[in-house]
């Protein structure tokens, strides 16, 4: 392990943060991680999304799903905000994924260019 001490210091710091912080989850991002998704680059999308979320310190949960039958549109993710429609974005690249995250989660704008489906929750 890199440094046990470093890890222990981190634990102390994070425990303090956790008690101080108590904000609600603002959304869920569901990434398609089936065989088709992974082959189309879902891992890079996951990396970009989690990086963007952490950079902006958003309380968003990232979860995965398998193949949803739209393999030709992969990589795909869904964004679900509580009480709003579930929006499915497709043909993602790390760059447009970051842009969609910012637009949808911060500016509350749906990036219609990449929307491939919309469901009532």
């Amino acid at each position: 392990m890199k440094s046990l001490q470093e890890l222990r210091d981190m634990r102390k710091r994070l425990e303090k943060d956790m008690t101080a912080r108590d904000d609600k989850e603002i959304a869920k991002v569901i990434i398609g991680m089936g065989t088709c998704g992974i082959a189309a680059g879902a891992r890079d999308i996951l990396q970009a999304v989690s990086d963007e979320i952490n950079k902006r310190d958003l309380n968003v949960k990232i979860v995965q799903t398998g193949c949803i039958g739209m393999c030709e549109e992969e990589p795909i993710f869904d964004i679900v905000k509580p009480g709003e429609d579930r929006i499915t974005y497709g043909n993602l690249t790390p760059d447009n994924a970051r842009q969609i995250i910012v637009e949808h989660l911060i500016n509350n704008r749906i990036d219609t260019e990449h929307v491939i489906a919309r469901h009532n929750n």
Binding site: R11, M18, M33, T35, I38, S50, N54, Q64
Partner: protein, 181 residues
Amino acid sequence: MKDLSLHILDLAENSFLAGADKLILRIKEDTVKNQLVLVMADNGQGMGVTELKSVSDPFYTGRNKKVGLGIPLIKYNAELSGGFLEIFSWSGVGTVLAAVFEYDHIDRPPLGDIPESIISLITLNSDQDIYFYHSYDDEVYKFKTTEYREELGEIPLDNNEVLQFIGDELKTNFRKLRGEI
């Protein structure tokens, strides 16, 4: 799939879908025997004989869809590079998958970014444990999520800072193993 790290990410999903909470991932690079061995073992629900026979069929899937390409794809890649794929499974116990490749075969997929795949797996399955053993000839690197869990107590493994720490650790050792640093 471009490389083995993506196959690993894909196949690990099968394990977690089968309800596994432990996954062993072993990569053995043996340049003397000219072999690359990938073993993945889980404690998921396992498969019966009939299902086990069907998993290499691209039109078989365990879920509500039409195709299942994860296993056929890695099988094809292994056979293309002078190797083979073998799966053993016991209902209620778990499944072991072994893929063997000829190390210097021109069609052998590269390892790819294994650390990134492990990080992705932890991000998405932070409650499950991953045991990763990577050997390159006589050198071995071991990584266990359980060790981090013990040290971190209540802090979840998918915490951003924790992931970054683990990612650095994995990346450094991945390169160290093959003498790149």
